[in-house]
């Protein structure tokens, strides 16, 4: 598991010892396709590091049903609402394909970070990098660069 965790960008900044501690709160999980992992508004108690497969983040829009806002794939982290209050999911997550992932117990992960600020700092940096990357992609989509010049 320790070696496996080293492959995820979100944990790149951790030392081998710190990754070993994180491995202690992790276990492997698999989901079939079309399995809902969590719903919008539920308590955020875990996060997942995706090894394989694809997960969609979605939200329910009246008249349209669940609308996918973004998809995640291998190497991505699923779920960061566990880090800050109110620790509830802002979007739902459903698998589009069979997914294999590492699930981290968020409560124990926060305890590790509280007990070892150096670990917590690196973990926060890794998560911030993921958040920044996703924010930049979202901004790029907001530019609507493929839209017709006639419509502008």
């Amino acid at each position: 598991m320790r070696e496996d965790l080293a492959r995820f960008p979100v944990l790149h900044g951790l030392t081998a010892r710190q990754r070993a501690e994180v491995a202690g709160v992790a276990h492997e999980v698999s989901f079939p396709a079309r399995r809902r992992i969590f719903d919008e508004g539920e308590n955020a108690r875990s996060c997942w590091l995706i090894r394989s497969g694809q997960v969609a983040l979605d939200t329910d829009v009246p008249g349209r049903g669940p609308v996918i806002v973004q998809t995640l794939g291998p190497g991505d982290v699923l779920g960061w609402s566990w880090l800050v209050s109110p620790r509830r999911w802002h979007f739902g997550a459903v698998t589009l394909q069979p997914v294999n992932a590492v699930e981290l117990d968020a409560t124990r992960l926060r305890e590790l970070a509280d007990a070892d600020p150096a670990l917590g700092y690196q973990l926060a940096l890794g998560l911030f990098e993921a958040v920044l990357s996703r924010l930049q992609s979202t901004r790029a989509r907001l530019l609507d660069v493929y839209g017709s010049p006639r419509a502008r």
């Binding site: 694809q54 969609a56 349209r64 049903g65 609308v67 996918i68 806002v69 973004q70 998809t71 794939g73 291998p74 190497g75 991505d76 589009l96 990357s133 996703r134 930049q136 992609s137 979202t138 790029a140 989509r141 530019l143 609507d144 660069v145 493929y146 839209g147 017709s148 010049p149 006639r150």
Partner: protein, 274 residues
């Protein structure tokens, strides 16, 4: 003898295929003498009689002097070209500019990143790589579009995606009901991709911000800027580096481009008003 580069050569629309709500592909047959030597990445100046002329990239390599161009209706001239039905006579000058240089990428992995109609000039790269599949390592195509109905060459993309010769990822910016594929900007699947930076040549085409962001992801992965080839779009008019309308810093894009490596193009694309 090569035709006068300023004189349009007559071509007749032999086939028109509707790609999306605002894009169509024309197969053009020469009425008389054909333009020769078109290479993937180059462009022709297509002339709609009495309306005007615009630069359109070559979107398929055809034997016998035929030209294939995919045209998006974005203005008066492109609308006339886009709407041209079978039998319409158009004018063509060219081919002009630099090409993708696919042959020089032999022995490398190819990462092809296309955004929107940027897939049009890249299609011959894919077709060329598939035609000489053994010459290349891994071949990856990441294609982005606004929505599922806005991908060019949808049947061809679907066919490529089912084979083993090329890895295809289609991703859309705007989620719609009924789409269960990837949703995200092209930089997202690109960021997930494991590449061998010293063995990778990237081909990127699309709106300029999309090319900048994609090049940045590739550079972060260690791919040298000189191994990232982008296709630039500027106001091409003469096509032969005389008029200066397409100037981009030290480049005249009609002659020194449209295909330029990112080590050259990158610094120019971040300078305002250049």
């Amino acid at each position: 003898m090569r035709a006068d580069p300023m004189l349009p050569t007559p071509y007749r629309v032999a086939e028109r295929v509707v790609e999306t709500h605002d894009s169509a592909t024309l197969r053009l047959e020469p009425v008389g003498t054909a333009l020769s030597g078109a290479r993937p990445g180059q462009f022709c100046m297509l002339y709609a009689r009495g309306i005007g002329e615009v630069a359109i990239s070559i979107s398929d390599a055809q034997p016998g002097g035929s030209l294939v161009h995919t045209i998006r209706d974005v203005g008066a001239v492109s609308r006339a070209l886009h709407d041209a039905g079978a039998g319409t006579t158009l004018g063509a000058r060219g081919p002009f500019g630099t090409n993708w240089g696919l042959e020089s990428a032999a022995g490398h992995d190819l990462v092809i990143v296309a955004g929107g109609v940027g897939l049009a000039p890249l299609r011959p790269v894919v077709l060329g790589a598939l035609a000489r599949r053994g010459d290349y390592g891994r071949v990856v195509l990441i294609a982005g579009a606004r929505g599922p109905d806005e991908f060019l060459y949808r049947d061809q993309l679907a066919q490529w995606a089912t084979g083993d010769d090329i890895e295809v990822e289609r991703t859309i910016d705007r989620p719609t009901s009924g789409w269960d594929g990837p949703v995200g900007f092209v930089t997202e699947p690109l960021a997930r991709l494991s590449v061998r930076p010293d063995r990778t040549i990237a081909f990127v085409c699309g709106p300029e911000p999309m090319m900048r962001y994609s090049a940045n992801v590739l550079i972060d992965k260690g791919v040298p800027a000189g191994d990232i080839r982008v296709s630039l779009e500027r106001n091409m008019q003469c096509g032969v580096a005389l008029c200066g309308h397409c100037q981009l810093g030290p480049l005249l894009v009609c002659r020194d481009g449209p295909v330029v490596d990112y080590a050259t193009a990158g610094p120019l694309l971040t300078v305002r008003e250049v």
